[in-house]
């Protein structure tokens, strides 16, 4: 990287690629060529910066200047203004506000070219592998990992070092190291970003894992819906083999380890490790009882260590920078950082990586830039579809595994959806249930039938047919589903229901008792009508109505027949006199 004066880092993550970042990069190169600057500036396509709503993002180093919302046609301006004249392109300039972020798992994302192993090596890549292989016994390395306090980033938060040790202790000539890249939480895409932006960090960690647990085989289970991540992983594996970081006799140490890919069809439940293993075996992707744990009996009945992408991405740094450095970050029981995918009604959506122990308030109002349109914050859903909704009162709770569970939610894989006053919490619960009903594997009764019935009960309430006792039914059913389901999916799927009932009981009551949706979301509970004082009889609304529900002569007051109205909102949109209102 260093022989150039300037590096233009163009985001090559999935989101920015959809915004034609590839064309932008090409245009930049063409402009640089045209201006004869090929020796001065270099264009690098990187992984995701995490600033997804600012795409396409271009970062110029060494000045560390961000350009946001860059379009392919802006290439000329950037080259002429920034490179030649040395002036920032003001209209594209973006100041990154997130001073609270610490990037460990995402350390290389957006900085290196993920398709060039040399850039990873320049940033101390594969140093940890060399160090572990040449200086440590597996026991020593695992002890270090245990001391670091790193917990699984896939959701459960099981201490990674202890998991490795369990696999190490099992006697077997064949063991497997598996990377769980079946990221399935809607809205969460940190694993994809890591694989797209820094695939080698995962490969390196898997090789270290192989050495520590006594395994020579690595498998990455990735959903086929991640084509770019798959492509970059393939390239990375090829390059790592060429450089001798994978394959036989790695770095001359006698240790051999290689990695293959396994593709999933994109079932949420296949993120559960036993279901994932069955899917890799070619069986139906559904969980089985633990024990036996995969560390004892996993893939092809052999001891198998499964960790997720983000967990792996943390590991090389822990070994190269040291345990003390890592353990200083975070809280007492939750060390290090966590990547969150901010989504919903917040100004800055995208990926952030923050030290554990940070408060939700800091995440939402400082890093996230507050609520969109200056509206009022209502709730934040953490932990994906099976997490819970937290409220105002939880905003100052430090985020870690245990606090989130205590508050009725969970860490999950790090999805964070922010809701404002316009969101109906009954509808939100229904939305998440919709997902779990769809994604249940169907094996156990409480999850297969129970979630369906929960969803139907919520539907009953949002369509105005709710009865008082339905809330007790929801609570009892939710508790039984959590209490009796086979795997983590069912054991957590009722969380959105329970947490919204707990925190927003008044909204449920309004739906049931008053047949009203306070947020104005549930269509069945809304009525459109015309305010007589404002109506001038222009007939615009009647002409817009697709079902002929509006009657009234020209220059006379109009009337909406509630029996015919389908609540499409066309009249409200068309009226120029604020005469149509919804209640």
């Amino acid at each position: 990287m260093s022989e150039y004066k300037l590096h233009l880092l163009v985001c090559g993550g999935t989101s920015c690629r959809n915004l034609q970042s590839d064309t932008l990069a090409e245009n930049l190169k063409t402009e640089i060529d045209k201006q004869g600057l090929t020796d001065v500036a270099q264009v690098v396509k990187t992984g995701c910066f995490g600033l997804c709503d600012k795409g396409t993002v271009v970062k110029v180093i060494p000045e560390n200047i961000f350009y946001a919302h860059v379009k392919p046609e802006d290439a000329k301006d950037i080259v002429e203004e920034h490179i030649i004249k040395g002036r920032k392109v003001e209209r594209l300039l973006y100041t990154d506000p997130d001073k609270k972020q610490i990037r460990i798992a995402l350390r290389n994302c957006g900085i290196i070219d993920p398709e060039n192993i040399n850039e990873y090596i320049e940033r101390n890549g594969y140093e940890a592998l060399g160090k572990v292989l040449s200086e440590m016994t597996p026991e020593e390395a695992i002890k270090l990992l245990i001391d670091s306090g790193l917990r699984g980033r896939g959701g459960g938060g099981f201490p990674a070092g202890i998991k490795w040790d369990l696999t190490r202790k099992v006697e077997s000539s064949i063991k497997f190291v598996v990377c769980n890249a079946d990221e399935g939480d809607p809205g969460a895409f940190m694993d994809r970003s890591i694989l797209e932006g820094d695939p080698h960090s995962v490969l390196e960690a898997m090789a270290i894992n192989g050495y520590c647990t006594g395994s020579n085989y690595g498998l990455i289970y990735i959903r086929a819906e991640y084509p770019l991540a798959i492509e970059r992983l393939k390239t990375a594996i090829k390059q790592a083999r060429e450089y001798g970081f994978l394959g036989n006799n790695i770095l001359g140490t006698g240790f051999s380890f290689d990695i293959e890919m396994r593709y999933g069809a994109g079932a949420f439940v296949c993120g559960e490790e036993t279901a994932l293993i069955h899917s890799m075996e070619g069986l139906r992707g559904e969980p089985t009882m633990k024990p036996p744990f995969p560390s004892v009996e996993g893939y092809l009945k052999k001891p198998t260590n499964v960790n997720n992408v983000e967990t792996y991405a943390n590991i090389p740094v822990i070994f190269s920078k040291g345990v003390k450095w890592f353990a200083k970050i975070g809280t007492e029981k939750s060390k290090g950082t966590k990547v969150f995918a901010l989504a919903g009604k917040v100004n800055n959506v995208g990926l952030i990586e923050v030290p554990l122990g940070i408060t939700l308030r800091e995440v939402i109002f400082e890093i996230g830039g507050g609520i969109k349109g200056g509206k009022k914050f209502k709730a934040v859903q953490t932990g994906g579809p099976s997490g819970g909704c937290l409220t105002e009162k939880d905003l100052d709770t430090p985020i870690d595994y245990d606090n989130l569970i205590a508050a009725g939610s969970m860490m999950g894989s790090g999805g964070m959806i922010i809701m404002d006053e316009d969101d109906c919490m009954v509808d939100v619960a229904k939305f998440f249930l919709d997902f779990t009903v769809e994604e249940s594997c169907g094996k156990c009764v409480p999850c297969r039938v129970g979630n369906k019935r929960l969803h139907e009960l919520l539907n009953k309430i949002t369509s105005g047919n709710g009865a008082k006792e339905d809330i007790d039914r929801l609570i009892n059913l939710s508790n039984v589903i959590k209490d009796t389901s086979l795997c983590g999916l069912g054991q957590s799927s009722p969380n959105p229901v329970l947490s919204t009932i707990k925190n927003f009981r008044n909204e449920y009551d309004a739906h049931i008792d008053d047949k009203k949706c306070p947020a104005g979301v549930c269509k069945a509970l809304m009525t459109y009508f015309i305010v007589e004082e404002n109506c001038v009889g222009c007939t615009a609304c009647a002409r817009a109505c697709p079902v002929g529900a509006i009657s009234g002569e020209r220059k006379e007051i109009h009337y909406i027949d509630p029996a015919l109205c389908i609540k499409c909102g066309a009249c409200e949109e068309r009226c120029k006199f604020n005469a149509v209102i919804v209640k």
């Binding site: 009764v445 009892n476 086979l486």
Partner: protein
Amino acid sequence: METVKLTVDNKKIEVPKGTTIYKAARKLGIDIPVLCYMDLADLNIEHKPGGCRICSVEVEGRRNLAPSCSTEVFDGMVVKTHSMRVLNARKTVMELILSDHPKDCLICPKSGNCDLQNLAIKLGIRETPYQEFSEMSTYRKDFSPSIIRDMDKCIMCRRCETMCNEFQTVGALSAVNRGFNSVVAPAFEMDLEDSPCTYCGQCVAVCPTGALTEVDHTNQLIEDLSNPAKTVIVQTAPAVRAALGEEFGMEPGTLVTGKMVTALRRLGFNYIFDTDFAADLTIMEEGTELLDRLNRHLKGDKDVKLPILTSCCPGWVNFFEQQFTDLLDVPSTARSPQQMFGAIAKTFFADRIKVAREDLVVVSIMPCLAKKYECQRDEFKVNGNPDVDYSISTRELAHLIKRANMDLNNMPEEDFDQPLGESSGAGVIFGATGGVIEAAVRTAYEIYTKKKLDRVDFKQLRGMEGIRHANVDFNGLEVNIGIAHGLGNARKLLEDVRNGISQFHAIEIMACPGGCIGGGGQPLHHGNLSILQKRMEAIYREDAGKPIRKSHENPYIIKLYEEFLGKPMSEKAHHLLHTHYIDKSKKIIYMK
């Protein structure tokens, strides 16, 4: 042995390490309800997917409830099987199951014999709280020649899958779709008829609800019995008499041969015959074929196919027609006893009583569901008229007897009619695994050695082990015999044959556990396989009590050859008593 101590409902017990809570509780006399769970210890099958969650119990210190069927005990474990938390969860889960199950118990074929119904009674379910707004999962009803799949009634216990895939290695059934829409079905939800299903009926035998049932022919039978233009004759398979009594509350293993004959006569059959007669006939043909192949082999004929495989079991025939199509010339060409009976009945016997083929209805009572398919095969029809018109199961017969206001318990004992009702003990033992080959040995030995057998019992061929082998000394010639029951076991022997490493001269194969006594049409064992053992003992008891023990000594068989067939494997015998096999592998690959 390492043991652990635990407390279940305040009672202390010490059990071997690795025991499940469910089994530990049973030792204490605590019967935790189960639904999807199935323990077929004699077959080495413990089906415990942990899917229904009915058996959930509370374990002190554990966050959630534990499924007792699949949770192992640990030292110091404290279990509560009937706390309020458990009872509420169990009831709620049961209500969920019932919320997606039709409530048409009154007209369900499984009513009165349904595990789900019994559990609803035990748990005192009195209402189905989701009824008014909930959706039911619905599926296309699937009719095959033997088995009806009504998957609206499936509760996803997955027992059928275990039988089909693990025990039988047939692979016709597996879970498809996801979540609320998941269901057990053939791949791509194709019809059972287009799948690799062999109709062995072991899925039906373990289904806890009315999701899998047999095609019922009793109404057709009643119609034929009441038609004065028809002469209706019946044949009863050996395994039926050893199990039918169970449906009338008798001890498993009670023989009801004479009572059954009386009941059939009172139902209005014109002639009551015995499939055992045809079993003796099978031995004449198959035994001769065995000796023929053996002799040619001994003379150095390299083309002769050995081992010879028995061909009485239609589930097994379907299995090799689909999965071992390269070995179609290995099994004996002898038809099954059911079909030999039909062929003789509609020729020799029809002539004798001067009834036209079309007016003669041949019904078989079988412990088997594949027999329903077998009698519909085109090879066994003459101008579209089947040799055996239809087959009804042991269960169907029991229902019919009850429907006709009869109780087998009070029934006097009568004898079969002649000439197709006489059988030797060799014909009887066809009903148990190893019986066909033992019967064949009794005859083949005497024909080959031209010596009388001192002892006709070949106990080395009997038993419940899945794969057995024995050597029988044919006066200096050592004949190696293999026996398998269960298609998974058969597959192992078959693969050796395919790879040319089989050491056997003859192999007997039965698709069902224990042979026909454990057939898919028998009274339901509800997981208690000791019943099969008792049926087996009954079969051998019947054999021991017979005056004639060897097929070739059955006087009516001798007469049949004299008057009609000539000799075994004659042209006439070949035409009426032998068959050919069809390559069905392409049928499986073809998908709708």
